[in-house]
Subunit: 383 residues, 2 copies
C-alpha cells in the first residue's frame, strides 16, 4: 500500500424523487440564491426544470437560469454563466444535467469568485482559492463529476480540452435519481459505459503498484457496468440496473479506486481530449476508439495484469483474447472502435497527435508520450 | 437499488510516518488546544505519544492528556475526560489508540459541549447538537471508528454497552499508519479480523435487498481480511498486508457497504454487546462465539445468499459447509467459537440473554429477537 489521502465531502442523495428536495439541501448550506445551469431544453420539456424550480421556491431561494451547455462543454458558455452569476451576486450554482453541465458549473463556481479569466485555472495560471457552492441533479451517469472535484471544459478558440480541479469544487450535494436517467439513448448509454471503463482502466493499466483490494474494487465496477449495460439495452426501465450503473459510475472516480495506488496516469483521456477538442467527438465515443488501441500498445509490458483483467472481468484467458473480447463488447453495444466508425477521417491522426501532445506536456507526460508514440497508438485504430 | 444518503467527510491520511503531521492537520481546523486521549502506557513507552506531542508543539497547539481507556471502554473514564476538557476549555480531542479510545473520544467530544450527563446520548435522552472536533491516530484496525460517526461505550454501573452517533462525530482527520499496527498480538489480530467479518456479515445476511455491486464489495472486504490475516500471522512486518487489512477495516464500516441496501440490522453486535458489558469479553472474541451460531440459526431462511457466501468468499459449496469452513478459520487464527473457549461458563447464557434483549429493545429489534430466540442462538455456542 502506498501513502494516500482520502477526502470526499460530497453528500450523495440517491433515489427516486430526491430532486424534489434540492431546495432543502441547498438551504442547509445557507445559500439563498442560485444559478440553475442546464443543457438542452429537454429538462424544460420533461418537467425536471420546473420540479427543481418549485423546490427552490418552496425554500425561498431565488434563481437565475442559463441553458445551452453542450457535450464537450465550451468555456465561452462558462464565461456567459459567470457574467450572470457575478451580475446578480448569486450565492450558489445548481447543475441540472450530465457531466458536461456539472463540469461547467464547477468552472462557473470558481470563476464567480475570481477577477481574472476563468481559463487561467485550466492552464495553471491561477489556483482556485474560493468558489460558490456547487450542487447537482444528475440526468446522466458517466463522468463521476457528481462526487469529485474535477471539471473538463473545451476552449473553442484555442482548441484545448483542459481540466479544472480543487477541493473547493466538490459538489456539496449531488442528487442521483436513476429514474431521471432512464431516457438516455442507447448510443449515449454505450458512451457512458466506455467512459466508466476508461476511468477504471487508465488507472488499472498504469498503476505501478495496485493493491489487491483496489484491483478487485475496479474489477467489480467493470463487471457491474458490463452487466447492467446489457440489462438496460434490453430494458431501459430496469430501475435496479440503472441504479447500479449510476453508482458504479460514481465509484469509478470518487477516490476509492486510488486507495494505496502508485503512479497512475490518465493516458486514454490525454489522447481522447484532443479528439473532443478538435472534432467534437462525444467523449465516450472517442474513448472507445482509443482504449483498445492503447491497451494493445502496452499489453506486452504488463502481461500479468492483462492476464488478470481478461480472466477476472471477461472470463477469458490471455491478454490478446481479453482485448479482443472487450473490443467486441464495445461494438456490440454500439460504441465506435475505429476512426471511421467515429466519423473521423484518417487525416485526423496528425492534428490529434499534435493536440494530444499539448495535453501530455500540460500533464507532465511528454517523456512517456512523445508524438511518435501517440501516433502509433492512433494508427492501431485506423482500419 | 434502495434510496440512500452517502455522506462521509472524514479525511484519511494513510501511510508511513503520517502521525508526525497530526499537529498540522489539527491546525488546519483552527484548533489551538486539545485533549490527547489514550489507553495503556504502551504509546508512551514506544514513543508514539511523544511524536504526537512534538507535532502539536510545533504548531503551537497546547494539550492536556488522559490515559487509561480500556477495551470495552467505560463511561466513567469518558466522564473523567469530559471534566478535564471542560475545565481547560479544550477545543478539540485526539484519540491515540484503537477503536476503544476513539469511541471514547467521540463521546468526550459531544459531552464537552453538553450540560447534562453524557450517557443521555447513549440511551436516547438527548441528541448531539454540538461537539468539539475529533482527530485520531490509529494503532489498531478493526472497528472502522476512524471513518464513521459512531462510538460504543460501556456503562459500568448499569452494565449496558450502548452507542452514540451523530454526523458531528465523524473524525475530521484520521491517521492510519500501518506501521503503528505492526505490534498487535496475534490474539488481537484475530479478534480484529472477526470484528470486520461481523460488520460485513451482519449486513450481508440481514439485508432484505442487497445490490450485486455492494455484495461484491463486501465479499472483497472479507477475502482481503482472510488473505491478509494469514499473511500477517506468518509475517507481522508485511507492510502491504497490514495496510490492506487496515483499509478493509475502514471500508467495512464507512458507509460504502450500505449503498442501495435495505433492511440491514446489527444482529451479532446486539448479542455480543451483552457479553462485553457483563463479562468484559473482548469484542472480537465475543463476536467469534456469536457469529457462527447466529449464521446457523438463520441459514435456512436465506439459502441463496448463504450459497453465494460459501462459494464467493470460501470457495466451497453449500451453506453448512460454508459455516463450518468459516468456523474452522476462526479456530485456526485463534478466535474462540464456544462459550468455554471465550472463558464463559454456560451459566452466562441467561444473563446475556437478558442484557441482549435490552439492546434489542433499544434498537427496535425486540419483535425479531424475543428472549427465546437469543437463547436458542447462544445455546448453539455452548458445547
Amino acid at each position: 500500500m502506498r501513502d494516500f489521502t482520502f477526502f470526499n465531502p460530497t453528500r450523495i442523495e440517491f433515489g427516486k424523487g430526491k430532486e424534489a428536495n434540492i431546495g432543502q439541501y441547498i438551504k442547509e448550506f445557507g445559500v439563498n440564491s442560485v444559478l440553475i445551469l442546464y443543457g438542452s431544453d429537454r429538462v424544460k420539456r420533461n418537467g425536471l426544470f420546473s420540479r427543481v424550480a418549485t423546490s427552490l421556491e418552496e425554500q425561498g431561494i431565488t434563481f437565475a437560469e442559463l441553458g445551452g451547455v453542450i457535450s464537450n462543454p465550451l468555456i465561452s458558455r462558462v464565461r456567459d454563466a459567470i457574467t450572470v452569476s457575478k451580475e446578480k451576486g448569486l450565492q450558489g450554482i445548481v447543475a441540472v444535467g450530465g457531466g458536461s453541465v456539472l463540469d461547467s458549473a464547477k468552472a462557473v463556481a470558481a470563476g464567480t469568485k475570481y477577477d481574472g479569466d476563468v481559463w487561467d485555472f485550466f492552464v495553471g495560471k491561477a489556483v482556485v482559492e474560493a468558489a460558490i457552492p456547487v450542487f447537482s441533479v444528475m440526468t446522466l451517469a458517466a463522468t463521476g463529476s457528481e462526487m469529485n472535484p474535477y471539471g473538463v471544459v473545451t476552449n473553442d478558440e484555442t482548441q484545448q480540452k483542459y481540466s479544472i480541479g480543487s477541493p473547493l469544487l466538490f459538489p456539496k450535494v449531488s442528487v442521483i435519481n436513476p429514474e431521471l436517467m432512464a431516457t438516455v439513448t442507447p448510443e449515449y448509454l454505450a458512451y457512458s459505459a466506455v467512459d466508466i471503463y476508461s476511468h477504471c482502466l487508465d488507472l488499472y493499466f498504469t498503476a505501478s503498484f495496485l493493491p489487491e483490494f483496489t484491483a478487485e474494487l475496479i474489477e467489480n465496477i467493470l463487471k457491474t457496468v458490463m452487466r447492467t449495460t446489457g440489462m438496460l439495452l434490453d430494458n431501459p426501465d430496469d430501475y435496479d440496473a440503472r441504479g447500479e450503473f449510476a453508482w458504479a459510475a460514481t465509484m469509478a472516480l470518487n477516490g476509492n479506486t486510488f486507495a494505496g495506488v502508485e503512479g497512475n496516469t490518465y493516458d486514454t483521456h490525454m489522447i481522447e481530449h484532443a479528439m473532443g477538442a478538435l472534432y467534437n467527438v462525444p467523449h465516450g465515443a472517442g474513448l472507445a476508439v482509443v482504449l483498445p488501441a492503447w491497451m494493445t500498445s502496452i499489453k506486452d509490458h504488463l502481461p500479468k495484469r492483462f492476464e488478470r483483467f481478461a480472466k477476472k472481468t471477461l472470463g477469458v484467458t490471455g491478454a490478446d483474447v481479453g482485448i479482443a473480447k472487450l473490443t467486441e463488447w464495445f461494438v456490440s453495444i454500439g460504441a465506435p472502435v475505429t476512426f471511421a466508425q467515429a466519423g473521423l477521417s484518417n487525416d485526423a491522426v496528425d492534428p490529434i497527435v499534435e493536440n494530444a501532445f499539448g495535453n501530455a506536456k500540460l500533464w507532465g507526460m511528454e517523456q512517456m508520450y512523445p508524438k511518435e508514440r501517440i501516433a502509433e497508438i492512433l494508427k492501431l485504430a485506423v482500419k
